[in-house]
Amino acid sequence: MDYFVNVTLTGLTQGMIYSAFALALVLIWRSTRIVNFAQGSMAAATTFIALALIQAGQSYWVALIVALASGFVLGAIVERVIIRPVEGGPELNAVIVTLGLFVAIQASIAIIFGSSFQSFPTPFGVRGLEVGGSTIPLTPTSLYVIGSVLVVMALLVALFRFTRIGLAMRASAFSQEVARLLGVKVGGMLTLGWGLAAVVGSLSGLLIAGGTFVWPAYMDALIVFGFVAAIIGGLDSPVGAIVGGLILGLALSYVSGYAPRGSALVNISALVILIVVLLVRPGGLFSSTTARRA
């Protein structure tokens, strides 16, 4: 029984991390209709900026704010300078550009910050909490991760559902021409969307890094799992991203914990889960409409 609880809680924590990353993907998809493969290395870049500040003696919170701000700037610059020129062409062009960007940013991190394996601090504890005399694998750090992800999700839902800016962003992403005719400043909205997505991405990068180890490619595995989580959830639903992440985290933890040689089966299982979900609900679990394409 204890074992089941341990495996479950480990899976939930891990799932929240996938959710954090999936949220960033959902945000950029909703606001620009582009799948951004560079999201992971952009988040890694800002995480390394934060690490450099912490190593220079700044507090975690200062580093967090600087990382989020530089995430916004980085996202906006990427949109203006790199994505904008290819935006008018076929959809695939922009996606391929983000793939190139993914490699380029990762290489730049290695050049600037070195490629060694380093520990990333967390403002909260890494020991499991004591509940009724026994320790459960839920640390203050994992509570911080879970709390932050839920807050970000709520903010995103509010942004898209209740604000004019959110509506304008969705309109710009959905159909640029119509939005422009209705008076929406489409260019600005796209830049804003990239900037905000990069902020959420940076936050997820920092949450994932806290209390564990980072190196320039540390987001690679999470990119895959984050994508799977986002697609399970339907790619345009913030709630779906959270649920997708949790389903994936739990399922992978059970596979790892209960299947023979489970650790080796984790990656394959992620693919199996993805295929099953897509077979049953091609649009993902939380897709609002079917086959809505711009």
Partner: protein, 443 residues
């Protein structure tokens, strides 16, 4: 081919005449013959060696320091005249611990850099990807930095490949015997890397304590969530955990155990136990909760080489001098000591291969004389025509702070069901400047 060789000789003669008169002079006198470009990668005044290491990525911590140790040793060796007045050139390339990249960089080393021999290529999965290629090409593949049995147990399959460090099976046997003798009531859990490393170690350890083992959990390198595996060891009631894992997974297993409130006696195999490295990785978490190497304090491990904390060991003193004189930035670390010790054995092999070495002659030299070489490694190598296995002995140590203290002196064994024996030979002392002086054993 002939033209290329001739061209190389010409260019090196020119270079030699310009800068290195005294060295060139003593070469002719000392060896009794002329230095010749006797094989690929050997010129009149240089020998070129190559290697692959993970300089980036998840396996890089620690391991990326090894080539800097090798380089420092060869630098000092070259300043003292090299091998038969040949300078040793050492070219190493980054494979990021990714077998695909290992294949690529090894191709470059062999075909483009035209190395004479490989030396110290690191990693089981990585080196497995190139061992066939190297043997097909007839490139001596010295001292693979991995304890897999593959490198030495079947010399007829891989005639050019040699192991160096204690193999994982022998290590597992020595650990198993120690637990059986000293912790007969322990419920043992195994934390294993899911490849040859974990398998060989498990096979060795089960020879002695099969009935004490309550769980064997395997992790896949790259999957950094080991929560379910550590939780399973805890659930099985293991109060003594033996890890056959790489250093980053020592850190991950310690962090996960903290989360689970799990506190068994830990025993990390040699590969994963460097206290400075693991402590360095763990020391920045959450003010005061995980400080310095204290998490590893009291953990057991094995040793086959002196470590940097043993400042009164004459080998460490020599290596420290070499690092100060010929090394780069940073401190002397155990990984750099490992690199220097491998470079020392390589120097022995090159000397034994004679004044004008060939690739086949180098292999013959190691098979003929290698088992008699003394050096920083505690126990002798097992090299012969029938075995290319490296050293076979290990001591057992307890980690205290950033160092360790011996709890059981060196014992030696071999793969399979060979017995474990105590080993009472006096430790070798380093020759002058830590430069070996082996006679040529090749005609």
């Amino acid at each position: 081919m002939t033209t290329i060789a001739a061209a190389t000789v010409l260019s090196t003669v020119a270079a030699c005449g310009g800068s290195d008169d005294s060295g060139g002079g003593s070469a002719g006198g000392g060896g009794g013959g002329e230095n010749e470009a006797s094989d690929i990668g050997v010129t009149e005044n240089s020998i070129r060696l190559g290697a692959h290491y993970p300089l980036t990525g998840v396996a890089a911590p620690g391991y990326s320091e090894i080539p800097t140790g090798v380089q420092a040793y060869f630098e000092c060796l070259n300043q003292a005249g090299g091998i038969y007045d040949r300078e040793v050139e050492f070219i190493f390339r980054d494979d990021a611990y990714n077998p695909t990249q290992t294949a690529q960089v090894t191709n470059e080393l062999v075909l483009q850099d035209e190395i004479f021999a490989m030396m110290g290529g690191l990693g089981t999965p990585t080196h497995s990807a190139v061992v066939d290629f190297l043997n097909d090409e007839g490139v001596p593949d010295l001292f693979v930095a991995s304890g897999s049995l593959t490198w030495g147990d079947e010399p007829e399959t891989y005639p050019y490949t040699f192991g160096w460090q204690t193999d994982y099976m022998s290590e597992g046997k020595i650990i198993g015997e120690y637990i059986a003798e000293n912790f007969p009531d322990a419920q043992v859990g195994l934390f294993l890397q899911d490849d040859d490393f974990g398998e060989d170690g498990e096979a060795g350890i089960r020879q002695y304590i099969d009935d004490q083992i309550v769980a064997a959990e395997r992790y896949t390198p790259g999957n950094t969530n080991v929560g379910p595996q550590i939780a399973a060891l805890q659930a099985a009631g293991a109060d003594f955990v033996v890890g056959f894992n790489v250093p980053s997974y020592t850190a991950l297993s310690q962090l996960t155990a903290l989360q689970l409130g799990y506190d068994p006696q830990w025993f990390y195999s040699n590969v994963g136990s460097d206290p400075t490295l693991v402590g360095g990785l763990l020391n920045r978490f959450s003010e005061g909760q995980v400080s310095d190497a204290s998490l590893l304090d009291g953990a057991l491990t094995t040793g086959y080489l002196p470590t940097v904390d043993q400042t009164d060991n004459p080998w460490i003193q020599e290596f420290q001098r070499i690092w100060d004189e010929c090394g780069g930035e940073g401190e002397l670390t155990n990984y750099r000591v490992y690199g220097m010790a491998q470079a020392y054995t390589t120097a022995q092999a090159l000397q034994a291969a004679g004044q004008n070495p060939t690739r086949d002659g180098l292999v013959e030299a190691i098979e003929t004389a290698g088992s008699e070489w003394e050096g920083p490694v505690f126990a002798p190598f097992r090299y012969s025509e029938d075995s290319h296995m490296g050293t076979s002995g290990m001591s057992i140590e307890r980690i205290v702070g950033n160092g360790s203290e011996e709890v059981q002196p060196v014992r030696v064994t071999d793969i399979g069901d060979a017995p474990i024996e105590e080993f009472d030979r006096e430790p070798a002392t380093p020759p002058a400047n830590a430069i070996p002086d082996e006679e040529s054993v090749v005609d």
